[in-house]
């Protein structure tokens, strides 16, 4: 039973705009095992959110998606629109960055919360309400019966995100995709939400994908981490290896450039240059080469994901060579 819940193979996403074609995601591979938590980490424009939006097929009509997205043995990209609708909010749920803009301001919390159950005919309205109220209580919202009829503006950001999580889990999905779930929240609330997510994930046994720009958050919550740069996957490693055994020069630079809470403090080392924007012209070789200190001739050729160890892959000639030799 080592079938991954989600297996993304060679995913490509292009946006066709007035000013030209934007290659947002270029050949991403990714596996999410049953009951595991996978983090997708990257800076803005790295394509991490686009990847997951492509998996959910929630991108605008201008997006061209290529590759294969296997979910429980079914290729989501080959499903009809109607079949895909049956998966969304039922088998795969998604929560987003800013709960206050991702909820309809003029509909009550409760009405919005039970929608997944109603859309998929999983419960009658009365039954849905009962289950939603109970879940609201379980995830730490006091007086859920009354809170059910509140409007989003009457909730704090942290409470809204709790409610969003509750809404996502109401239909007992196999996979939860959390796209920067704590970025818009206050620092102290962030811990609460992450803790709740982790707890619920363990209780329900569902798989979870956490998209975040914060390496520390990913390290805290996830089992495995995928690092994206310029629309490509540059490294995949277990999270306990993140700080000590990273192999890609980009990830090494990134880890070094993060200020630490203990240890020496001096001038901060950093990666020179700008991150590769999605609309920029892509080099034919390694996408990180022009910012990389270890660049050599071979980097003119694009490196594939090289296996370094168990659950450890890197897209770098130098790092790959050190191991394979």
């Amino acid at each position: 039973m080592d079938h991954p819940v989600l297996h993304v193979r060679d995913l490509h996403v292009q946006f066709v705009t007035d000013t030209g074609t934007v290659n947002a995601v270029n050949g991403v591979n990714l596996q999410v095992k049953r009951g595991s938590t996978v983090g997708i980490v990257g800076e803005s424009g790295s394509g991490k959110s686009t990847t997951m939006m492509a998996v959910m097929r929630l991108l605008s009509t201008g997006a061209r998606i290529g590759g294969q997205v296997d979910f429980l043995g079914e290729n989501l990209l080959s499903l009809s629109k109607k079949q895909m609708r049956k998966i969304r909010g039922h088998r795969i749920s998604m929560i987003f960055q800013n709960p206050s803009t991702y909820l309809n301001p003029t509909k009550t919390i409760g009405k919005q919360m039970i929608e997944p159950l109603l859309y998929h005919h999983l419960a009658s309205p009365a039954e849905a309400r009962r289950r939603a109220v109970q879940l609201l209580g379980d995830i730490g919202i006091s007086n859920p019966e009354k809170r059910f009829d509140n409007y989003p503006f009457e909730f704090s950001g942290g409470m809204l995100q709790r409610m969003m999580i509750g809404m996502a889990l109401l239909s007992r999905p196999h996979l939860l995709i959390a796209d920067e779930p704590t970025t818009a929240l206050d620092v102290t609330v962030q811990a609460e939400i992450l803790w709740l997510l982790k707890k619920l994930q363990q209780e329900t046994g569902m798989a979870m994908v956490l998209v975040t720009h914060d390496l520390a958050v990913a390290a805290q919550v996830c089992d495995e981490i995928y690092v994206m740069y310029g629309g490509e996957m540059v490294e995949h490693l277990p999270s306990e290896m993140l700080l000590k055994s990273q192999a890609h020069p980009y990830l090494q630079g990134l880890i070094q450039s993060i200020p630490k809470l203990s240890g020496e403090k001096g001038r901060l080392p950093y990666i020179p240059g700008q991150p590769l924007g999605a609309s920029a012209n892509r080099p034919t070789g390694c996408i990180f080469a022009d910012r990389c200190a270890y660049r050599f001739e071979r980097c003119a050729e694009r490196p594939p994901l090289l296996q370094l160890g168990e659950r450890h892959e890197v897209a770098c000639w130098k790092a790959g060579a050190e191991v394979s030799v």
């Binding site: 800076e43 919202i141 700080l243 630490k260 001038r267 901060l268 950093y270």
Partner: protein, 334 residues
């Protein structure tokens, strides 16, 4: 430089004395800052941490007298800024500069990069057109911007470059102090490191003093010698950064440190351990009896509910507003 020697000039660079700020919004009074005493010594950058709504934005705006305090005084180099006329205040504005959170929003969208950087010089009538342009170009090099961008508009630059422009603009008048409001939090990690590195360098070169608001404790630790923790309009703990982070004496500081994910030398801080947040009792409750933090504090006693703790000095200028600060400091942070 001279370690251990008594300071010759005891006048602090900036000082807040018994400062209180109240706002009136839709008939209700909100106390944004309550009875704040704060000293900033030259060369000792100050970090301010706290949740949103803790009053840190208000505090730094009052420090620059962008908004007037309701009560109390604001001193800069010994002069009470609250008593100055608008004209005399202008000359002090040269010495304090501001870098805001959103670099794009803080730049003048209708002016070029060069004009943006020269703007403070023009406002204060420093030099002529030519010399202002020269200085602007020089500052662009200082902050690591290409002169190619001299005639660009802010919207053509990336976020990191925009923040460099904002920093260059803040440097134009050779200020003594720069107030940075979450100046790196909207930037990507690799860009954030570039800007922090730049700020570190400038601090050394130009003997700047920063007032650094951030929710990123590791950034504060890197940039600031002193740190103040704010909760609901009060400073609840203040002292040397290193000491405050290794031995926090206020339960709120401890909660903050454990709540914010960060890397340490050899790993990552554990998720939410030792945090007992009570949902629903968030920061909105104000006034009333006792310690403002007691509804969320796991160590609260009946004394905490009745008696408001004053900010008091522990050893070596470390100040805490907690009745049980000594016991807090003794128990090692997990």
């Amino acid at each position: 430089m001279t370690d251990g020697a008594p300071r010759a000039n005891p006048v602090p660079l900036a000082e807040l004395k018994r400062m209180t700020k109240r706002f009136r919004s839709s008939g209700q009074e909100v106390v944004a800052c309550r009875d704040i005493n704060l000293q900033i010594t030259k060369g000792e950058s100050l970090g301010i941490v706290g949740e949103s709504g803790s009053g840190k934005s208000t505090l730094i705006r009052i420090l620059q007298l962008l908004i007037p305090p309701t009560e109390g005084q604001v001193y800069f180099e010994g002069t009470d800024l609250t008593r100055l006329s608008a004209r005399r205040l202008r000359t002090f504005r040269k010495k304090i500069q501001f870098v805001a959170q959103d670099p794009y929003g803080s730049l003048f969208p209708n002016l070029t990069i060069g004009q943006n950087i020269a703007e403070p010089l023009e406002i204060h009538g420093v030099g002529d057109r030519r010399s202002r342009r020269e200085l602007a170009a020089e500052l662009m090099e200082t902050v690591g911007l290409s002169l190619y961008n001299f005639h660009s508009f802010p919207h053509e630059l990336s976020g990191g470059q925009q923040q460099r422009v904002a920093i260059a603009r803040a440097l134009a008048l050779y200020p003594q102090m720069i107030v940075l409001d979450e100046a790196v939090s909207s930037l990507d990690v690799s860009i954030q490191a570039q800007i922090l590195n730049l700020l570190q360098g400038l601090k050394e070169e130009r003997e700047l003093t920063y007032v650094f608001v951030s929710h990123n404790l590791a950034v504060i630790r890197l940039m600031c010698e002193q740190t103040a923790v704010m909760y609901l309009g009060r400073i609840v703990e203040q002292g040397e950064t290193e000491r405050l982070f290794t031995a926090p004496s206020h339960p709120y500081t401890r909660a903050l440190i454990s709540a914010i994910p960060a890397f340490t030398e050899d790993g990552v801080t554990p998720l939410g351990k030792s945090v007992q947040f009570v949902t629903g009792v968030s920061g909105s409750k104000q006034g009333g009896q006792g310690c403002a933090y007691h509804p969320r504090c796991p160590f609260a006693t009946s004394r905490c509910r009745e008696e408001t703790p004053e900010l008091r000095t522990l050893e070596s200028a470390h100040q805490v507003a907690c009745h049980y600060a000594e016991t807090m400091a003794d128990s090692v942070l997990q």
